[in-house]
Amino acid sequence: MNGLLILIPAALLLGLGGLVAFFWTLRAGQYDDPDGAAMRILIDEDELP
């Protein structure tokens, strides 16, 4: 039973962390162009045509 006193707050904090992270990604516009973001990692910065 004593384990619960640590585990429940830990679970809630992790969940809350996830929620805060989601709000941050939303604010940072990370869902504006999901396909493009996947493509952009393939663009080589120094290979200028």
Partner: protein, 720 residues
């Protein structure tokens, strides 16, 4: 103000303005290389300061000088090897404004429901005594603030409805959620067996998911009427009696004023030409892009573009009396009529609220009369409100519409509003504009077969050297025939004359034909160029506006789908008859914008659901008045804003494809609604009998929503 000062003022208006943004659809982006190419090469083009690709929606936002017009930008795309089409719809930022609060509420509801569910599952699997009490208290601590935050969209809307003395879907939702939460708090305090926190939160999460999708499919109303009035000039040069001229703002013009209209200037007022003769672009009223020659005594409307020579205009109408203001008024009134369409989901919710209220009240009353006491009667009523939650109902329509519009976007069909799919599925008559809709609205070279094969590379090289529309058309025709250009020497372009060069020592040219060369085919008023390809003979190439590829095939498919077609055009009756005969359908010519709108209103009054397809400025009122409307992406900004669906590319096959997709969507929506109703038929009696525990409610709610989502996913393959 002097002429010079007026010119400076104009320049400041056009060039000194901050850089503007224009959105383009670029359907043929396929890879990271394309993104890099567009974002690196486009800012190198004159006047363009930046480009940002959105690969998911296949669009590019270009930052450019205000002086750069759309055709210039499309040419810039062409230079780096991409075909682009300008898009005119509500800005993405505006859309996000109403969406973001809903997404935040959804995130909070999802977070809270998952955590509460974790604790609730422990209770279901046997936790009792003090640990159950503890879990209930923790659940309450999470649920109360989260219900207050995530439920706000529903509470606000329900409160508004109650204040107005009506009821909507949000009223039973709000009552259910609030009652369930309050009752659970009470149960927590008295250490009862069942709490409904998980039910209330899951309900909110599913409903918010439906709301988010629904909001994504809600079109931003833009009638296009403003874009229309922007087509007129902001002022004009007024001639005084003593022969001097002065720049006057459009608002200060009066009937009877004499205006000096320079070549390339748009008219600020309606008038009669008092002196001079020039060619005018009348596309505003007729939809025809081909210029028309007007002489003394001819009427010209505001917004008309003077192409060739300066003329003097005597003003006959200004301000709201102008023909263009009348068209804008027609558009406004037409779009207001259209907004009376009630979406399927809204029609259902009108039925839904009274039924649920009655069921919950009857259950409560029944258990009270049966002698069960307040506590149990309220619990049963809450179970009824929760179990009849319109989760599946709220998801049924938007999920299907979001899935299908995403797939349609991949096929070059941009759906601006979810209700457009509902209305498109009902369409039973098709009315088409001619120029720019059935036809490409740009010149296409006819008879390149007359050029000897050996000389075609020279012709292509000449055509490539010029940006004249006819040269571009010739280049496209020759490239389409698989010709490759040869290098030419001394290449020179003389504006108004043509391109000349030397090839293997002989003079070659692509030029304006002399009147003598055109004598042979009198009565043929199509545009023409003459080609001298070094062998002494002159070849005349004619250009005509060609039918879109697959126009016949598309109309045949539409006919098979039960949509007989008819042409409504502002072009000459004989030109319309020629196209109509070629396609085997009816056609009417010489139609003014108000005539087109009247035809559509007649169709609607007769109980039909016309689909209007048009592109021009003159089609604006008709597009707004039709039950549902589509426009090609090559359409004017007015046409694009007034239409419900915009299709990219030259092919008309997008029309039957859109109709099939819309009908498939409505089929799935009806299946979804059927599933939701079947679920309620089984679940409601159980709830009224008091047999539904929070566990059963959680399973039933989730599974019915998942079934509806899964059924809607089938639409990914429906757009063929």
């Amino acid at each position: 103000m002097s002429l010079a000062a007026a010119l400076t003022a104009t320049d400041e208006r056009d060039l000194g303005a901050a850089p503007v943004e224009t959105r383009f659809a670029v359907p043929d982006m396929h890879c990271a290389g394309c993104i890099a190419k567009i974002e690196r090469l486009l800012p190198g083009q004159p006047g363009i300061s930046g480009a940002r690709v959105n690969f998911s929606s296949r669009t590019v936002v270009v930052n450019h000088d205000a002086a750069l017009a759309e055709p210039d930008l499309i040419r810039a795309f062409d230079t780096i090897g991409f075909a682009a089409q300008a898009l005119h719809s509500a800005a993405a930022g505006q859309r996000n404004q109403s969406l973001a609060p809903l997404i935040r509420a959804l995130a909070v509801a999802a977070f809270a429901s998952m955590n509460v569910m974790l604790l609730t599952v422990s209770v279901w699997s046997g936790a009792d005594g003090s640990s159950r009490h503890l879990f209930h208290w923790i659940s309450a601590a999470i649920a109360i603030p989260c219900v207050a935050y995530a439920g706000r969209p529903f509470f606000v809307s329900a409160l508004k409805a109650v204040r107005a003395g009506t009821t909507n879907m949000d009223v039973p939702i709000s009552i259910g959620v609030l009652l369930a939460t309050l009752m659970s708090v009470y149960e927590t305090i008295v250490d009862g067996q069942h709490v409904w926190f998980d039910g209330a939160l899951t309900l909110l999460a599913f409903l918010l998911a439906g709301r988010v999708l629904d909001e994504m499919m809600r079109g931003r109303a833009a009638s296009g009427a403003e874009a229309l009035v922007r087509r007129t000039a902001t002022g004009a040069m007024r001639l005084a009696a003593d022969g001097t001229s002065q720049w006057v703002a459009a608002d200060d013009l009066a009937v009877g004023d004499r205006l000096m209209i320079a070549a390339g200037e748009r008219l600020a007022a309606d008038g009669v030409i008092a002196q001079g003769r020039s060619r005018f672009d009348l596309s505003l009223l007729t939809g025809e892009s081909a210029p028309v020659t007007l002489g003394e005594g001819a009427m010209a409307a505001a917004g008309t573009l003077n192409l060739d020579a300066p003329v003097t205009l005597r003003v006959t109408a200004v301000g709201e009396a102008r023909a263009i203001a009348e068209i804008a008024r027609l558009m406004d009134s037409a779009s207001q009529t259209k907004s009376h369409y009630v979406r399927l989901a809204d029609r259902l919710s009108r039925l839904y609220a009274p039924v649920v209220h009655t069921l919950a009240a009857v259950s409560f009353a029944g258990w009270m009369i049966g002698g069960a006491g307040w506590h149990q009667s309220i619990l049963v009523a809450i179970a009824v409100l929760i179990i009849t939650c319109p989760c599946a109902l709220g998801l049924a329509v938007p999920v299907a519409q979001v899935v299908v519009s995403g797939t349609m976007m991949g096929k070059g069909l941009l759906v601006k509003d979810g209700s457009a799919l509902e209305r498109l599925a009902q369409a039973d008559t098709l009315l088409l504009d001619k120029t720019g809709t059935l036809t490409l609205g740009r010149p296409v070279a006819a008879g390149i077969a007359a050029i000897p094969v050996a000389q075609r590379p020279i012709a292509l090289a000449l055509a490539t050297a010029s940006r004249h529309p006819l040269a571009t058309a010739l280049r496209q025709a020759l490239e389409g025939a698989g010709v490759a250009a040869v290098p030419l020497d001394n290449l020179a372009e003389t504006p108004g004359v043509g391109v000349s060069a030397r090839h293997e020592g002989r003079q070659v040219a692509m030029r304006r034909p002399s009147p003598a060369e055109l004598v042979g085919d009198r009565g043929d008023d199509r545009a023409a160029v003459a080609l001298d390809l070094g062998d002494g003979a002159t070849i005349i190439i004619r250009f005509a506006d060609a039918l879109r590829p697959d126009a016949g095939e598309a109309l045949a498919q539409l006919h098979a789908l039960g949509l007989p077609a008819r042409i409504m055009s502002g072009d000459r009756a004989d030109a319309v008859a020629a196209v109509a005969d070629q396609l085997g359908i009816d056609g009417t010519g010489d139609m003014q914008p108000a005539d087109k709108m009247a035809v559509l209103e007649g169709e609607i009054a007769a109980g039909r659901h016309p689909l209007m397809v048009g592109d021009g400025l003159n089609d604006g009122p008709a597009l707004a008045a039709a039950h549902v409307s589509m426009a090609p992406a090559s359409a004017s900004d007015v046409g694009q804003q007034a239409a419900d669906i915009v299709f990219l590319g030259d092919s008309l096959l997008g029309l039957p494809r859109a109709i099939r997709a819309a009908r498939a969507t409505m089929r799935v929506v009806r299946e979804n609604l059927g599933l939701a109703i079947i679920y309620n038929i089984f679940a409601v009696p159980l709830a009224m009998a008091g047999l539904v525990t929070p566990l059963i409610a959680a399973v039933a709610m989730s599974s019915s929503s998942l079934i509806v989502i899964g059924n809607s996913m089938r639409l990914r393959w429906a757009v063929k």
